[in-house]
């Protein structure tokens, strides 16, 4: 069975004590509206770190209800980011979210050796997407934006990060397809060599808690019929939960097709830090933003 529908994340996030989300510099990109709504709906307990007067003005302009939301006063952007990260590393907050501040500024703070959130693993982005034409089947993509040209060991870490997330959202043995342009190993195509190595690393127990197969082309990873025509028999072929993309270009293309051409919704989170980091784009729909916050909260809880 493949996973279907993402709405369970909203329900899951409301179980038990709400997780506290620290949103750094909540001045736009609609992150403010999404977090305020997530707070009202009990998905998280919202803490906004930034210039209080500016936040209140913006909220008023956008008709955004701030009741139940805590504001931590910190006018300077860089300090607001540091404060947010420190809140998470000290346990005062459970997850971090980026507002209107450069991603590089946020990540620099996250990776700070003294008060940051680094674990020695690699940061990677996992995007879960609910696909309308596939009966709302949920397919994950990683890494769609953090790592440009990951080598084999980086790819193994990207899988490990994703696997721990899947375990937390109730998929005990995710099926991971290491994608390439073709399903045959070709010495001239690095993605196929890495994919074969990852499949073997999984067999030898070097990558655990999941089933990895590859190389697979996207069609035989997601379509049983296509896998059958190609004569591929594997527990992953046709039924992949997650697509491991070989590089930032392919990840970007697949991710953007999902966002711009399918009419579906998704949930994204950055993994590999001590706590999850939510990073939405202003083009994400309100639904996708809420689901991303919920995913972050569910991952933060367990």
């Amino acid at each position: 069975m493949t996973m279907q529908k993402l709405d369970f994340l909203l329900e899951e996030s409301r179980k038990g004590r709400p997780m506290t989300l620290a949103l750094a510099c909540p001045y736009g990109d609609d992150a403010l509206a999404a977090v305020a709504r997530a707070g009202r709906e009990g998905v998280v307990k919202a803490v906004l770190v930034g210039d209080g007067a500016r936040i209140r003005t913006l909220a008023e302009q956008d008709g955004c209800d701030l009741s139940g939301v805590t504001i931590v006063e910190e006018k300077n952007d860089e300090k607001a980011v540091e404060r947010s990260v420190r809140m998470v590393s000290s346990g005062e907050a459970d997850l971090l979210m980026k507002g209107l501040v450069k991603t590089s500024t946020l990540l620099k703070a996250v990776l700070d050796k003294e008060w940051g959130l680094r674990t020695g693993s690699l940061l990677s982005h996992l995007f879960l997407f609910e696909i309308p034409v596939m009966d709302r089947r949920v397919i994950g993509i990683s890494d769609g934006g953090m790592n440009t040209y990951p080598d084999l060991s980086a790819k193994a870490k990207i899988i490990e990060n994703a696997v721990s997330c899947y375990h937390k959202i109730g998929v005990p043995q995710p099926r991971i397809a290491a994608l390439a342009a073709v399903e045959a190993v070709n010495p001239d195509m690095q993605a196929t060599l890495d994919a074969a190595a990852l499949a073997k690393m999984n067999e030898r127990g070097q990558i655990r808690g999941c089933i990895v197969d590859g190389p697979l082309a996207l069609d035989n990873a997601v379509s049983e019929e296509s896998a059958k025509i190609k004569g591929i028999s594997s527990p992953v072929a046709g039924n992949a939960d997650m697509l491991l993309v070989p590089d930032i270009e392919s990840g970007n293309f697949v991710g953007k097709v999902l966002l711009y051409m399918t009419g579906g919704k998704g949930a994204g989170v950055i993994l590999g830090a001590r706590k999850p980091i939510v990073l939405t784009s202003r083009f994400d729909s309100m639904e996708t933003k809420l689901l991303s916050i919920a995913l972050g909260a569910v991952v933060a809880r367990s």
């Binding site: 440009t148 342009a181 996207l218 296509s226 930032i248 293309f253 697949v254 579906g264 083009f283």
Partner: protein, 309 residues
């Protein structure tokens, strides 16, 4: 001509060519499969194609019987040796007896070897042969041409320039007067550590200097700023291509293949493909393609052949 904006419109346009100027002739290498013959028969009945069927005449007969196709409407050339089937089929095109070279059950290597043959093949000088997927996606008012997602694995700049020109010619055959070409990368800024962005910048300049013609090339673009004007605007990108791209040049086969297949499997779309850059259009469909996709590929080849004449 009016711009063809969906693959249904493409089919109508091919029918119009057939009605006004007569059908184009396919030369099919190893035409021994029922599904393929059905698609060819459908194109024949729609009035835009005829075919010379090359292969084992007994097997062609058996496949035709299975598909319910009457071979009286076709020329059959009996050829039992597989490499020779490719040579015979391609020479029908290079000698002018047929207009389009099409792959049947023949192994891709044999099919392409014949196409590249110096005497009877279809190579146009040193021009790069490339593949193009064309998609109509629900919610968009135009066809997206994606190249090269299947044929050239890791093209260098010179090959990318050829691929761009080949694809632009196809878009023009579809009535896109001056195709807008987005050279894709993961980001929209030039980054010395990302070779795709450097090639994109160079291709843009080659277009401005007249080295790539009849189109407007811009890049690097991330896919979102190539298809969404709003996204391009927010990123502050001012370009006639931003948000309006017809043609997408992908950096290599990995990203290209995943882009095309993500469109095919994750969106509401119609998709077909064609091989470009040779002296005549080349149809190379796979057994996994639907009958409709095969028909659309033939319609595209007919449209391109008409445009090039």
């Amino acid at each position: 001509m009016e711009q063809i904006r969906s693959l249904s419109q493409l089919l109508e346009y091919a029918k119009k060519i057939g009605a006004e100027k007569g059908p184009k002739k396919l030369s099919v290498a190893m035409a021994e499969e029922a599904g393929l013959l059905s698609a060819i028969e459908e194109a024949r009945q729609a009035g835009f194609a005829q075919a010379i069927l090359v292969g084992n005449a007994d097997k062609i007969k058996a496949a035709a019987d299975q598909a319910g196709v009457n071979l009286a409407n076709y020329e059959v050339i009996d050829e039992r040796n597989e490499p020779a089937m490719g040579m015979t089929a391609v020479s029908q095109v290079s000698s002018g007896k047929a207009d389009i070279y099409m792959k049947g059950q023949i192994h891709t290597n044999n099919f392409l070897r014949a196409m590249l043959n110096k005497e009877v093949g279809l190579r146009k000088g040193k021009n790069t042969i490339s593949h193009c997927y064309f998609h109509s996606v629900e919610g968009y008012d135009r066809i997206f041409f994606v190249a090269d997602a299947a044929f050239n694995m890791y093209p260098d700049l010179a090959a990318k320039a050829d691929i761009t020109q080949n694809t632009v010619n196809l878009a023009r055959a579809f009535g896109v007067a001056e195709p807008k070409v987005a050279v894709l990368a993961a980001v929209e800024v030039v980054n010395p550590d990302m070779p795709a962005t450097l090639d994109a910048a160079a291709l843009t300049q080659m277009n401005r200097r007249g080295q790539i013609k009849n189109c407007v090339v811009d890049g690097p673009f991330a896919l979102d700023n190539a298809v969404s004007e709003e996204s391009a605007k927010t990123k502050g990108i001012v370009s006639p291509v931003a948000g309006k791209a017809d043609v997408f040049i992908v950096p290599n086969i990995d990203g290209g293949n995943m882009l095309a297949k993500a469109i095919v499997y994750f969106s509401k779309n119609e998709t077909a493909g064609l091989i470009l850059g040779a002296a005549a259009p080349i149809v190379l469909t796979s057994r996994a393609d639907s009958a409709r996709a095969k028909l659309l590929s033939i319609a595209a080849a007919v449209t391109l052949s008409d445009f090039q004449k």
